[in-house]
């Protein structure tokens, strides 16, 4: 190696170091900054991309509508690849730019950031996912699993199955298999399903699938042997379409399969199209909503101006709507914080936390935002960080998703004690004292 090359190499290294220093220096103007943790690469990208498109488009739409009382939003995307360590790096990097709130978009990252958020004073918003016990705001002061948790999703699926069978008492002796992604995400519904199994006397079989989920032959062999009455699919990314293909190959009726909402979007069934006909999935409130006012607004104010993110024809699909709704709920938290702490000001993380805790999205408000028919009103409180436990089931008819159930509500009688007990265990492990009513006012 020549000296010149050595010099070149060391210059590169020096440039790298200075680049990192400079990275911190991009100061933000007087705008509310939102970090966007997303994954557009890796095994979960097919589902991560539409979510991110919806999320970013909604921020752009809010700016096009004039911001919140004149406060505009700026954002920066950071690619995590669904990797916890990368997510933490993204979080730390974007935090230093004054993050208002963060949506980790992965269960692993949610767990890691949950430990950091109280010190950093940044609310962790997990719309429809995250750790289920964090619905208890008296222990998890900074977590907001708004609009439902995995336990709500699992409970809604059980209710839908019971309805199909003609009541919970008919479930006695039935066999239900949970095919799940073998990670904290996939294991989340297990406590609830076990609780339900004990209550109604059905047999629950747990069939883990190793991440990322392309290898499922052994799992479906077990399904073929057991011939369960229902299969609950707790997958994500390529695992979903693989599972449906395997079900097709095994001859397992798709009508008897119920997916979690991460397993109920277009990318999961598109490749199988006809083969996935009859496959059901739970939706936390919304489904595919191409006719909604929100989609029309996005089209008119963002996409037609050439500022849209992602392909136009995917606007309004299930995960796109999920991204938009996630952004909307957190941004409405900013609005509610401004109502109390001063309109037209940039809010701090602590103020937004208050806003998220006192969210009151009534039907007229939702209608004004373009979410009419997409979702039901949500209001949160100090104790209840979830706000609402509504869900619906939609079914793939071979070409599109269609709702096939009424509104279902997660059974509070089962979920609440579970949340309380698990949150209490967390508080005990961490030696946390639950918040007092006085702390709720702040």
């Amino acid at each position: 190696m020549k000296l010149s090359k050595l010099v070149l190499a060391s210059t590169l290294v020096a440039a790298g170091a200075s680049g990192l220093m400079a990275g911190n220096a991009f100061a933000q103007a007087k705008e509310q900054f939102i970090p966007v943790l997303s994954y557009r690469t890796g095994p979960y990208a097919p589902n991560g991309v539409p979510w991110a498109n919806g999320y970013v488009d909604y921020i752009k739409l809010t700016n096009a509508r004039g911001g919140i009382n004149g406060v505009k939003f700026s954002f920066e995307e950071c690619e995590t690849g669904y990797d916890t360590a990368r997510s933490v790096e993204c979080y730390e990097r974007l935090k230093s730019k004054g993050a208002s709130f963060v949506q980790p978009l992965s269960t692993g990252a949610t767990f890691a950031i949950t430990e950091k958020a109280p010190a950093d004073k940044i609310p962790v918003v997990t719309v429809g996912y995250g750790r289920s016990e964090s619905a208890d705001g008296s222990v998890f002061k900074w977590n907001f699993p708004i609009a439902g948790t995995y336990w709500v999703a699992a409970d809604a699926i059980m209710q839908a199955i019971a309805k199909k069978e003609g009541g919970f008492d008919k479930l006695k002796g039935k066999k239900i298999s949970l095919v799940y992604h073998d990670s904290p995400f996939g294991k989340e519904p297990i406590p609830l399903l076990q609780e339900r199994a004990a209550m109604h006397g059905f047999n629950l079989t747990l069939l883990p699938v190793t991440a990322p989920g392309v290898e499922q032959k052994a799992t479906w062999l077990q399904v073929r042997q057991n011939r369960p009455d229902y299969v609950v699919l707790w997958g994500w990314g390529i695992m979903n379409s693989t599972a449906i293909k395997e079900a097709q190959a095994t001859g397992y009726p798709r009508e008897k399969m119920y997916g979690v909402w991460w397993a109920g979007a277009e990318p999961d069934v598109k490749d199988v199209a006809e083969g996935a006909k009859g496959y059901n999935a739970v939706t936390m409130q919304h489904g595919a909503e191409p006719q909604s006012k929100l989609v029309k607004d996005v089209m008119a104010m963002v996409h037609d101006k050439g500022q849209g993110t992602g392909p136009k024809d995917e606007v309004g699909q299930v995960l796109y709507m999920r991204g938009a709704m996630s952004a909307m709920l957190a941004i409405e938290g900013v609005r509610s914080a401004q109502d109390r702490f001063g309109k037209g000001k940039v809010m701090t993380g602590e103020q937004i936390r208050w806003g998220l805790e006192n969210l009151n999205l009534t039907q007229p408000k939702l209608d004004a935002l373009g979410f009419a028919g997409v979702m039901r009103p949500i209001s949160t409180s100090c104790v209840d960080h979830m706000g609402a436990a509504w869900a619906r089931i939609h079914t793939w008819d071979g070409a599109k998703w269609q709702f096939t159930s009424d509104w279902l509500q997660g059974d509070e009688q089962i979920i609440k004690p579970l949340v309380k007990a698990t949150a209490a265990k967390y508080a005990a492990d961490k030696k946390l004292t639950p918040r007092t009513p006085a702390d709720c006012q702040s």
Binding site: M1, L3, K5, L6, A9, G16, G19, L20, G23, N24, S38, R40, T41, A45, V49, A52, E77, C78, E79, G81, T84, A85, V88, E89, E92, R93, K95, S96, T107, G108, F111, A112, T114, E115, K116, A119, R131, D182, S183, P184, F185, K187, E188, I190, P191, P208, T210, A211, T422, D429, K430, K431
Partner: protein, 358 residues
């Protein structure tokens, strides 16, 4: 001119045997330590600590461990991620199950558990070597993945299988601030790296190197292959285990088995290959390369594109990042197959003659 050892005579065995026999090296290392312990804490931002320096220190420690096994003893291992996982989960169990367990002791016990685990999975090394051993150590990786996913006891019966720690303290000092975490990791790294350096200079290290260079010849001159190989596995997995415990406790705070997946094993192996096989110094270079470069590229590429007025999306950036990263690895290996540490020593060699090369 500045880096020349003319006139530095060693008159005692002691002087001849020190780690850094050249005065300039000693000065450089002292300066480096001063920078690490005093200057960096004054200058670095929160982000730099949390997202770059701490992972760099922890990965350096892990790379030192892997280097002992792969670089010094020649036992190629793809199970380093598993050793990290065992360290992390064992430390976690000691920490939460035993009331009043000091953090430092828990971390070291995590290392000890990982050591035992490493020795068990090092047993095949007595029969198979090279690529075959690499495949055999993959078993350790898959076993650990399975164990921490399925055996609930290890995760303290957490329903989701994710564990977390908080309220960390060392000698009564809180380890919450990034600065405290940084100093803690740095101190641990300095101590362990120094011990490792001395180990590889000593009789044990020479046995390892003899086994690496030609195990039959080593056995003929009286080195016991079993002792040498298993001790390399033990020391290596102890260090990697401590690094794993730090990764979980200090960097992530809450983790799941995926944090120690087979990717982590590959990453550690790359660090050793790029940094320089059989060089403690090289481990640091390798860790810096693997930790800093992707982050740097993800910031640098959009800025570079911005100069030309092009806005590129996150997906493009992250794909380009992977391509540039892969390209650089290939380039490095072609240009300098002995890794960055070799570049370093070439640089030193040049400096000895500078400014009058032959």
């Amino acid at each position: 001119m500045f880096y020349r050892e003319n006139g530095q005579f060693k008159t005692t065995y002691r002087a001849d045997q020190q780690i850094f026999p050249i005065l300039q090296d000693r000065m450089a290392i002292t300066a480096l330590l001063l920078v690490g312990f005093a200057l960096v804490p004054m200058l670095a931002s929160d982000y730099l600590f949390r997202a770059i320096l701490i992972p760099f220190l922890i990965f350096s420690l892990a790379a030192v461990g892997v280097n002992i096994l792969v670089g010094f003893c020649g036992q190629i291992s793809l199970g380093s991620g598993a050793f990290m996982a065992v360290g992390a989960y064992a430390a976690y169990n000691f920490f939460v199950r035993i009331e009043g367990m000091p953090l430092l002791l828990a971390l070291l016990l995590g290392g000890v558990s990982s050591m035992l685990f490493g020795m068990v999975f090092g047993l095949p090394s007595l029969r198979v070597k090279g690529l075959y051993l690499a495949v055999a150590t993959l078993a350790a990786q898959f076993f650990a993945d399975w164990m921490f996913l399925r055996v609930q006891w290890f995760t303290n019966n957490s329903p989701s299988g994710s564990v977390s720690v908080s309220n960390l303290q060392v000698f009564g000092l809180s380890l919450e601030s990034p600065l405290a975490k940084y100093i803690f990791c740095l101190s641990l790294l300095v101590v362990i790296a120094l011990l490792a350096k001395n180990l590889v200079r000593g009789a044990v290290g020479r046995e390892w190197m003899a086994i690496r260079d030609m195990d039959v010849a080593a056995a003929v001159i009286g080195i016991r292959p079993m002792y040498a190989k298993l001790s390399a596995f033990a020391v290596s997995s102890f260090i990697v285990g401590v690094a794993g415990a730090l990764w979980g406790f200090i960097y992530l705070g809450a983790w799941e088995p995926a944090a120690f997946s087979v990717d982590q094993s590959f990453r550690l192996l790359f660090m050793v290959i790029i940094g320089g096989m059989g060089s403690i110094m090289g481990s640091f270079f390798g860790a810096a390369f693997i930790v800093v470069l992707p982050i740097f590229l993800s910031q640098f590429l959009p800025a570079l594109a911005g100069l030309f007025g092009v806005e590129i999306s996150t997906a493009v950036v992250s794909h380009a990042e992977l391509m540039v990263f892969g390209g650089l690895i290939v380039w490095f290996l072609i240009v300098e197959p002995h890794g960055l540490a070799k570049l370093w020593s070439i640089g030193k060699q040049k400096l000895r003659l500078w400014p009058f090369p032959h």
